[in-house]
């Protein structure tokens, strides 16, 4: 038996032994996610047990090094673990911006001391992080951000406002892009800094979206502070001072790759044609609305070709060709496609799915989901910004 097969057998046995029954329903969906953090209320004892056991094993972040709370697994082993978890329908034990965003940034740009200090609490789900990037006047033009950060000897003093900070009202710490050198050029005076939100100078306010939900907040910094060092040798700034834009760019690419790897949300779930056949009905084996049928068929062609493109890009990356700026292409196409898909699902749903509240639609689940997709092509860089990146970095067009 190869090492990988041995690992598979061991992983499976361990999962069967340790994953509580209640956590084996394969439930995804935002409402079932365990986010962790100081204020986290576990939905069940099983959710808590599952997190603790996985964290102890290092498998909440299986690819991270063991000394930082991870599992120290190879890429192949991580893939095997995910496959086995899928087979047993295990829920994910923990999701967070710490895992998705800050972790990768620290692993690439952090010092050993920073990693040792910040990564294990993320892996154990003890600290919940959020991301402070956009500002009211710095959206697509992120590098024009103005949030001020002044050197006060032993600490930094921060004043300004962030917007679109996901779940800031439920988070413990925030990683923020701040301007540490106001005289430097746009891209060079920015630093990437870590701030404890449990202080008077930091406040948050949820933003109600068109979907009726509030996944995002405004975050205000009024004389907020963060020590130069959170512990001996643990700087508050990640990467070099005034070089935060490099970290930010790395994370934006990473974020695009994550968004596109999820297929813009089109992996899983029933096909549009299947939904339509069920909800609207067939005549002589064909959907009774021919124009809708044509629209669906064309969309399914694009959706399938897009999934194959994700697969191809992944295979090319493995073969050493790298995804590079193609992450912009995947983000652009995937999110635009997801919007198109939800428009069609709403077409299929007709007036039934327009009921905003009530049991029949689970409080307008599809309608709220449809509205949520409108943000897909805005967050993480708008479609227009992605097209700019393709034009500049892939097509090498002038002056873009």
């Amino acid at each position: 038996m190869s090492d990988l097969e041995t690992f598979r057998a061991e992983a499976r046995a361990w999962l069967e032994e340790n994953c509580p029954r209640e956590m084996r329903d394969g439930a995804g969906g935002e409402e079932n996610i365990c986010w962790g953090g100081k204020r986290w209320q576990f939905q069940s004892e099983a959710q808590k047990t599952w997190l603790n056991r996985m964290a102890e094993k290092g498998w909440t972040v299986p690819a991270w090094p063991k000394e930082y709370g991870g599992g120290g697994l190879s890429k192949e082993e991580v893939k095997v673990l995910k496959e086995e978890m899928r087979k047993l329908k295990c829920r994910s034990p923990l999701e967070s911006f710490g895992i998705w965003m800050l972790g990768p940034a620290l692993l690439k740009y952090g010092t050993h001391e920073q990693k040792l200090h910040f990564l294990p609490p993320i892996a154990r789900g003890e600290i919940r992080w959020c991301q402070g990037y956009s500002e009211p006047n710095a959206g697509s033009d992120l590098a024009s951000l103005q949030c001020k950060c002044e050197d006060k000897g032993d600490h930094w003093l921060i004043n300004g406002q962030k917007i679109w900070t996901s779940y800031a009202d439920e988070s413990d710490w925030i990683f923020v892009l701040v301007r540490t050198d106001p005289k430097a050029t746009k891209h060079t005076g920015i630093s990437f800094i870590l701030v404890d939100m449990d202080q008077k100078g930091v406040s948050t306010k949820p933003i109600k979206l068109i979907s009726g939900k509030s996944p995002f907040c405004e975050t205000f910094f009024d004389d907020a502070t963060t020590p130069k060092e959170h512990a001996p040798g643990v700087s508050a700034i990640v990467g070099e001072m005034n070089k935060g834009w490099d970290v930010a760019k790395y994370l934006l690419t990473h974020e695009r790759e994550m968004i596109s790897a999820g297929g813009g949300g089109l992996l899983g779930g029933r096909g549009m044609g299947e939904v339509a056949a069920n909800d609207i009905g067939l005549e002589n084996g064909k959907l009774s609305d021919p124009l809708l049928r044509a629209k669906i068929a064309q969309a399914e062609i694009d959706g399938w070709a897009f999934l194959l493109t994700l697969e191809r890009m992944k295979d090319e990356a493995k073969a050493g060709q790298g995804v590079g700026a193609n992450s912009s292409m995947l983000k652009y196409y995937g999110t635009e496609f997801n919007k198109r898909r939800f428009e069609i699902l709403m077409d299929i749903g007709g007036s039934d799915e327009l009921e905003w509240e009530g049991q029949r639609t689970k409080d307008g689940k599809l309608a709220r989901g449809w509205l949520r997709t409108k943000a897909n092509s805005i967050e993480g860089g708008t479609s227009e910004v992605q097209l700019n990146v393709i034009a500049k970095r892939i097509l090498e067009l002038p002056g873009a």
Binding site: L287, A305, L308, T309
Partner: protein
């Protein structure tokens, strides 16, 4: 299987690329058109391609072929799409080779495949009878006649029909037009009595023909595959052709797009390169994305034809539909972004628009394949 070319396939691509750029650029097609060449392709060039193993790319080594599989054939088709190379590759080396290999009896294979691989015999596949593709619509009659059949009916849009030595033709031996059952494939000598071939000059300056069959006699030995049960067999062959055309269109789209991007970098108006205008950049970036999708669908279709030939129907429909739509978009954007010069005959881009228009129509346009996919998925 990873969705990337193997080293061997990549090498084939590179050598084909170099060869075609040198020996068969768009100017060669232009010359064939301007001299009203009776063949519509260069027999000397075809001989060279055969010597390199291209004519027998799908044929096993036992029958003198290179046995590179559908991915190999697709790689060649894509490169020929880049240069718009006119050759009997699709009809003879993809369609006929697939039909004979998959359906032929041992004696039929023995008699045909080595000659195809050697570049010594040309074939055509005659399916369509009306302006829109639809094999089940076949009305051409195959009436029982002694121990054999008599074929009567009209075929149209037969690629390479006027130069073919042999014609593989679909005819109805039972049932009524519209039904899948009752089709039979025949392998007929193009010089048989009762055959009348009219070369049709197509918009892409490539070969096609209308063929009349007037009581053409066929023996039992001329039947390819099963009597009355030829529909699925034909579908398999057509799928190979669809994937081949999709690969060709992907190549044409990539080339037309490359020419366009270069033009955007060179052409100056309002004192600057027009490629610096965001209106054009975004359209170019969108087209780039679409072309990447088409490439993925094409490669998957070719790989699946190699791995599960009988189950490749849906993916071949995907590839044909997607590559067709994307190639059309690429050619339209190419002409528009080139502006006036794109409308001139002297400039090559128009040749791409014309060939793509023909290739996307052949063996089912995007609407045909979208409909087919919807049916397969139960709506």
């Amino acid at each position: 299987m990873p969705l990337v070319l193997t080293e061997e396939q990549e090498m084939l691509r590179e050598s084909a690329h170099g060869f075609l750029e040198q020996k068969a650029p768009v100017s060669a097609l232009r010359k064939l058109r301007d001299t009203n060449d009776p063949d519509g392709f260069d027999r000397g060039l075809w001989k060279e391609m055969a010597e390199m193993g291209w004519a027998g790319i799908l044929i096993d080594e036992e029958h003198g072929g290179a046995d590179f599989g559908f991915v190999g054939a697709g790689v060649l088709a894509e490169e020929m799409g880049r240069t718009l190379t006119a050759s009997p590759f699709l009809s003879t080396s993809i369609l006929a080779a697939t039909a004979l290999k998959k359906l032929g009896s041992d004696p039929q294979k023995q008699a045909t495949l080595p000659k195809i691989a050697a570049g010594e015999a040309l074939y055509a596949l005659a399916v369509d009878e009306t302006r829109k593709h639809g094999p089940a619509k076949t009305a051409m009659k195959a009436e029982k006649h002694g121990n054999g059949f008599k074929l009567s009916g009209d075929k149209t849009f037969v690629a390479d029909g006027h130069v073919a030595d042999k014609i593989i033709v679909a005819a109805r031996s039972a049932g009524a037009p519209g039904e899948q059952d009752g089709l039979t494939l025949f392998l007929i000598d193009a010089k048989s009595k009762g055959i009348e071939i009219e070369r049709t000059q197509m918009v892409d300056s490539r070969n096609a023909a209308r063929i009349k069959f007037d009581g053409v006699e066929a023996t039992g030995d001329d039947v390819l595959g099963e009597v009355d049960g030829g529909y699925m067999a034909l579908e398999g062959v057509l799928n190979a052709g669809r994937a081949g055309l999709a690969a060709e269109m992907s190549g044409s789209a990539q080339q037309a797009f490359g020419m366009t991007v270069n033009y955007l970098k060179e052409r100056k108006q309002f004192g600057t390169e027009i490629g610096s205008f965001q209106a054009l950049q975004h359209r170019a970036a969108h087209l780039y994305s679409e072309i990447e999708l088409a490439k993925s669908a094409v490669l998957k279709a070719l790989q699946d034809l190699d791995a599960h030939y009988g189950m490749a129907g849906p993916i071949c429909s995907l590839a044909k539909a997607k590559a067709g739509e994307v190639a059309k978009l690429a050619s339209q954007e190419a002409v528009q972004m080139h502006g006036g010069i794109g409308m001139t005959d002297e400039y090559d881009i128009g040749f791409y628009m014309k060939r793509i228009r023909v290739a996307q129509e052949m063996f089912g346009d995007a609407a045909f394949h979208a409909d087919r996919l919807a049916q397969m998925r139960g709506y």
